[in-house]
């Protein structure tokens, strides 16, 4: 099994001061001052792939693991960390384009990489990222590859016959199915999927290995299928007001405060459900 895990490096928007949500003439918000992180859904994808590899190792059929991102050199630190975490390859498709709202271009680049270089038969990636929020890349990629795509995946385990046992959320519950690659798996809310941390020993042994850098234009010119036309045009952008307010419940005792909470708020709220 040859697994490709795709991830995006994004600014940690939780650290953005409220007053800094200013949109410039190119419809961009300056986020360069905050720390970069791996998009949380993609972080889950990376950890789930490692957990899958751990379990497959136990069954003595260890998969090949490649981590791939698209972007500039700010992703290299994360790629080195992934090398230290025993990803066999760490690949960056070098692109300085604004890909926030272009999932079709991301999908075309990923497909080109798979077809021309990676020859992967399983692709795992987060369902969406906070930058762009398109939630389309896995689905478009599946369409380009002609592979099935399972969304809202929360765990992946090895199954007999080089298959995968995939758990995902569906409208009316949880679905557990065994599937045969090739396939694309879009990770949703997955419990216990914070990315593990490499030891200094791991970093010394593996983290210094080079990151493979592939020029996006060259990749597309030599192996890619043309990107689908963009599905949306960005017209405007504005910050969502996430301010919260509260009231302080007065009372002499905990019992009094509980009564006040129930009668002034909870009772009406519960009745409205």
């Amino acid at each position: 099994m040859n697994i490709l895990v795709c991830f995006k490096v994004v600014p940690d928007l939780d650290l953005m001061p409220g007053g800094d949500w200013n949109v410039d003439s190119r419809l961009r918000v300056e986020t360069g001052y905050v720390k970069n992180i791996i998009n949380p859904y993609d972080e889950s994808a990376l950890e789930i792939a490692l957990q899958f590899a751990d379990k497959a190792d136990d069954d003595q059929c260890s998969p090949g693991l490649t981590a791939l991102t698209i972007g500039d050199s700010k992703a290299n630190l994360h790629l080195k960390t992934l090398r230290a975490l025993s990803f066999d390859r760490a690949v960056r498709i070098d692109s300085k384009e604004d890909l926030r709202f272009r999932p079709e271009t991301c999908a075309a680049l990923i497909s080109a990489y798979i077809n021309k270089i990676g020859k992967n038969n399983v692709v795992i990636m987060g369902r969406q990222s906070g930058v762009g929020d398109n939630a389309q890349t896995p689905l478009i990629c599946a369409e380009m590859m002609g592979w099935p795509c399972i969304t809202q995946v929360s765990s992946i385990e090895p199954a007999a016959g080089a298959c995968l046992r995939v758990t995902n959320l569906v409208d009316d519950g949880t679905c557990r199915q065994t599937i045969e690659p090739p396939c694309i798996l879009a990770i949703g809310n997955a419990p216990n999927s914070y990315l593990r941390v490499p030891t200094l020993k791991d970093i010394k042994a593996h983290g210094q290995k080079p990151v493979e850098v592939i020029d996006a234009a060259v990749l597309m010119a030599t192996g890619g299928q043309p990107a689908l036309p963009g599905g949306c045009e960005l017209l405007g952008i504005e910050a969502i007001d996430r301010r919260r307010s509260g009231i302080i419940i007065e009372g002499e005792t905990a019992a009094e405060k509980t009564q006040a909470l129930y009668y002034s708020y909870l009772k009406g709220w519960l009745a409205g459900i």
């Binding site: 650290l15 953005m16 001061p17 800094d20 360069g32 001052y33 905050v34 720390k35 970069n36 700010k74 630190l77 216990n192 999927s193 914070y194 990315l195 593990r196 941390v197 490499p198 030891t199 200094l200 020993k201 005792t253 905990a254």
Partner: protein, 480 residues
């Protein structure tokens, strides 16, 4: 002979009322530890003796009554306010202890802008006090990372320090007067005066006592004019810590008083600054105060830094955004807990201090030894965050994966061996093993080495004020 749990609860209920005596099993378990044992706590493992009750006091008289009862019945008392301690100071080392929680004594009693004083009860939240002061253009000048959680009594009891300490000082420089209750029931007040030379400065018997001598009930601190509009924030990347220490030294010995003077090594910096300073040290300086002073200090510090090769100026916005997210609120604590459970990767810290001639050696030898001697280390680094005329501190930050051991073995396998290296190397070099977290219960092993011949004074204080040893047994001094 100590009383049984039921009798203790009964007597406490009679003294304080039912609502103020908590015996819920989970609360008692959580009150047997502080952040030092959070890995155990997260796994629901509690290895310390469980207290008989957590009692909530609301007045100095109630504190006095509880302490009298404890003394008469030889019951261990653990004073507590914000519950944000990190060094085991809040662990209940003795079964059927009483945790005396002063968080209900949370009044800001007075703010006196003419004499520049603020007086609070021990459970007053520093964040609330600071917010209230800032509304009127004042500040305490105290900003520890625990500001959203910590309360005044605990901050004074642990000799805490804040991010602006290089200008405003540690809490010991801010406290003007105090009220405390000693285990013999004596309520003592130290009045608020600008200075005194009437014998030893007895404030320091109380400041930093970690609940091992008395219970702090009221605190008066200095306040300062708050003029953030004058702040001059400077940031630099540089190649090594040695150069950074030299810059800090030059700033301090030439008489400049930045409010912030912080120097991060590349490893610790990777947690905060990887987006602009990967692999580099980061130096952060801030001047504040009246505009002419802040401007002059800022300019002078820039000139000093410019003399050192390899220092590259960073746009202040990078530093400001980081600084605005530095403190730990309940949300960050909750997030950390979730992350630790998922990854089994946990971070801890140990802070030490040393004179300029030894601090870089302490830093280098500790990082080298911890990297090579401790298994499963994922990060070892640190920063200097509080500088003085004579030297600076080193705040070691270390993370490790907890591998092949039970939750209750984590401290013995990882945390204490790391602390041992840092403490022993620091004492060997001539530094202090505790800069601002307090001794707690896990550095008592080295307390005699820390004090040397002056240990006599410390031991005599304990014998004089707490002859029965009922105050937070095992804290600062080893348990008897």
């Amino acid at each position: 002979m100590s009383l049984d749990k039921e009798t203790i609860v009964e007597k406490m209920t009679a003294l304080l009322g039912k609502d103020n005596v908590v015996t819920d099993e989970q609360v008692l378990k959580e009150s047997s530890v502080d952040r030092f044992r959070r890995f155990e706590e997260l796994h629901g493992v509690f290895t310390q003796p469980i207290p008989a009750a957590v009692v909530y006091v609301h007045s100095t008289e109630e504190v006095k009554a509880v302490l009298n009862f404890a003394r008469e019945n030889n019951i261990n008392i653990v004073p507590r306010t914000g519950h944000s301690a990190t060094e085991g100071g809040l662990e209940t080392a003795v079964e059927n202890s009483i945790v005396v929680d002063g968080s209900g004594m949370n009044k800001i009693i007075s703010i006196d802008p003419y004499n520049m004083l603020a007086t609070c009860q021990c459970g007053a939240s520093l964040q609330e006090l600071e917010d209230k002061l800032r509304e009127d253009g004042y500040t305490t000048g105290h900003s520890p990372q625990s500001k959203p959680l910590a309360q005044m009594g605990g901050l004074v009891a642990t000799r805490s320090i804040g991010q602006f300490s290089t200008l405003y000082g540690g809490i010991e420089d801010m406290v003007v007067g105090l009220e405390a209750v000693f285990p013999n029931g004596k309520v003592t007040r130290i009045k608020n005066v600008p200075r005194r030379a009437a014998g030893p400065d007895i404030r320091h018997v109380i400041i930093g006592n970690e609940g091992a001598l008395c219970y702090i009930t009221e605190v008066t601190v200095k306040i300062f004019k708050f003029t953030p509009e004058n702040n001059v924030l400077l940031g630099y990347t540089l190649d090594n810590m040695k150069t950074g220490f030299e810059i800090l030294r030059e700033i301090m010995v030439n008489g400049y008083r930045p409010s912030v003077a912080r120097l991060y090594d590349p490893a610790d910096g990777s947690l905060h600054f990887s987006h602009f300073a990967a692999g580099k040290c980061v130096l952060i300086l801030m001047a504040e105060g009246p505009k002419p002073l802040a401007d002059a200090t800022g300019k002078a510090m820039e000139e000093i830094v410019s003399k050192y090769g390899g220092c590259k100026k960073v746009e202040p916005k990078y530093i400001q955004v980081w600084f605005d997210n530095l403190n730990w609120d309940v949300g960050k604590v909750a997030e950390e807990r979730e992350e630790i459970m998922a990854t089994k990767n946990i971070g801890n810290t140990t802070e030490v201090a040393g004179t300029w001639d030894i601090i870089n050696d302490i830093y280098e030898v500790c990082v080298e030894r911890i990297s090579s001697e401790i298994p499963d280390i994922t990060l070892i680094g640190g920063h200097s965050s509080h500088s003085y005329l004579n030297g600076t501190n080193m705040y070691f930050v270390y993370y490790y994966n907890v591998v092949n051991c039970r939750p209750e073995e984590e401290i013995a396998k990882y945390h204490l061996p790391i602390k041992k290296i840092i403490v022993e190397e620091t004492i060997r070099a001539g530094g202090s093993m505790c800069h601002h977290h307090g001794v707690g219960k896990h550095r008592t092993h080295w307390i005699e080495d820390e004090y040397g011949s002056s240990y006599y004074i410390l031991e005599t204080l304990k014998e004089a004020f707490d002859p029965q040893g009922i105050m937070n047994r095992g804290t600062i001094l080893p348990g008897r």
